[in-house]
Structure formats: structure tokens, C-alpha cells
Amino acid sequence: MVDLHAGDMRHHVRLYVRVFVALLVLTAVTVAASYLHLAVPIAVTIALIIAAAKGSLVASFFMHLITERRVVFGALVLTVVFFLVLMFLPLFTQWDTIGQKVQ
């Protein structure tokens, strides 16, 4: 691993500060949106999009995922696939009864 020079460092710090500001703005937006008391489906969509954006910023820049190696990506892509499976397949099995009382 190469050491950073002072110049690179300033560049890095600027980046971190910019990401920080973006996260603050997005937090403010999502809180503000929640005060509008929108219908649940729209509110969920907005909240999840903003959360996903914030999460991507954290993962990409703070966790340096954007410059990470292929092996790590491979493992994470696999995880994301199974995460989606875990999120949606159980839900689909109850598709017929959603919104009704679960027996």
C-alpha cells in the first residue's frame, strides 16, 4: 500500500467533506418528506431511494468500495443476490394474503 502525499490527502479530505455534506442534505430531505405524511407506498419509495443513495455514498467513499478489488465485489454481489432472495421470496409466498389477517 502506497503512502499518501499531503496533496493527495487534501484531495481525499475534500472528498470526505463533500460526501458528508451530501449525507446531511439527504437526511434533511428524507426527514422533511416524512412530515408530508404521504401515502405509504410513495413514502416507502422515497425513503428507500434516499436511504439507498446515502448507503451507496457511505459504502463507496468511506468504505472505499469504489476502488475495491474484484474478489470483494464478487462476494458482495453474491450477498446482495441472496439478500434480495431473502427479502422477496418469503413475501411472495404470502402474496395471496397480504393485507389480510395472517392466520
Partner: protein, 196 residues
């Protein structure tokens, strides 16, 4: 024979062992929290009625806590960057701030919990509070775990800086990746539990 690639990167993967290890650990964490999120979705979609988070929980406090955790992520990454420029004093400062932020987060969480429990809104109250306490409790445990690790690297673990600086920097990077993940989980918990 020494175990290879504890400090340097293996040429064909471009990784040192612990870097790969922490990402795999986070992969399992994704599945752990994923299962709880999935449970949340299943329980909520199957419920006759489900309260909006803001009806019961304090959005301002949680927004403040979001702010605290995001800031701690910045200080954490700064502490690593300080080691990269070989500025140990700054590392100590930023690491200290990260731990402090963790403490503030937990303190706020404590007062939130206390308020709910005093009002009888315990986990057994209904399924909403059950999943609220389970998710935030598990996340809180992760915060505590991260603070223990960070505290170790702030205190006794920092001795490694003088003997093996490169390895120590790697360790802070690893601890950072974990800490950012804790932040990331909260970024999803906040809207799901409080705002929806």
C-alpha cells in the same frame, strides 16, 4: 513459515487477508440484518394495522442520532487518513471523536428507550415495538462492539503504531469499514422505523 499476506497484498487478489475477512464478515451481517428487515416487511404486510413510526417515536432525536453517526463516520475515515500521512496526533484526535460520537449515540438511544419503557411501550406491547427494540437493540450492540474495538485501537492497541505502522494502519482501515457499516445499517433503520 509465517502466514503470508497479513500486511502486504497478495498480487493476484490485490488484498491483504484481513481486508477480505472484514468484507466477508459484513456480508454475513448484511444477511443478519437482511433477515430482520425481511421479517419487518412480512410482519407489517401481514398486520391488520401498523402504526407510522413517527406516531410513537421521536423523529428529531433519531435525526440527531443520524447526524451523530454520519459525523462519526467522517471522523473515522479521517483517523485512517491521518495515519496514512503519518500524523499520529491527529489520528488520536479523530479516533477519540469517533468514540465520543458513539457514546453520544448510545446516550440518546438510552433516553429514547427509557421514555418508551416508562410509558409501557415495551417489546411485548405490540409487534411494532417488538421489531423496533430488536432491530435497534441489535444495532446498538454493534455500536458497542465497534466502540470496544475503536477504544482498543485508541488505547493499548495503538502501541503497534511504533512497531508495525503499516499493519496498524490496515487495522484502522478494517475497523473503519466495520464502523461505516454500522452507520450504513442505521441509515436504513432510521427511515424504516421512524419515518414510515
Amino acid at each position: 513459515m509465517e502466514i503470508p499476506y497479513t500486511v502486504t497484498e497478495r498480487p493476484d487478489t490485490g488484498l491483504y487477508n484481513a481486508k477480505l475477512g472484514v468484507w466477508l464478515f459484513l456480508a454475513s451481517e448484511v444477511m443478519l440484518f437482511g433477515a430482520l428487515f425481511s421479517s419487518y416487511v412480512l410482519l407489517r404486510s401481514g398486520a391488520e394495522e401498523w402504526p407510522h413510526g413517527w406516531q410513537h417515536l421521536s423523529v428529531p432525536l433519531a435525526a440527531f442520532n443520524t447526524l451523530v453517526l454520519i459525523s462519526s463516520s467522517v471522523t473515522m475515515v479521517m483517523s485512517w487518513a491521518s495515519l496514512k500521512t503519518k500524523d499520529f496526533g491527529k489520528y488520536r484526535l479523530y479516533m477519540g471523536l469517533t468514540i465520543l460520537a458513539g457514546l453520544i449515540f448510545l446516550a440518546v438511544k438510552f433516553f429514547e428507550y427509557r421514555e418508551h419503557i416508562l410509558m409501557g411501550e415495551v417489546p411485548a406491547h405490540d409487534t411494532f415495538f417488538a421489531i423496533y427494540f430488536t432491530l435497534t437493540g441489535l444495532h446498538g450492540l454493534h455500536v458497542i462492539g465497534g466502540m470496544i474495538v475503536n477504544g482498543y485501537f485508541f488505547g493499548p492497541g495503538a502501541r503497534m503504531w511504533s512497531s508495525e505502522p503499516e499493519r496498524f494502519t490496515n487495522r484502522i482501515e478494517i475497523a473503519g469499514v466495520y464502523w461505516h457499516f454500522v452507520d450504513l445499517v442505521w441509515i436504513f433503520l432510521f427511515p424504516i422505523l421512524y419515518l414510515l
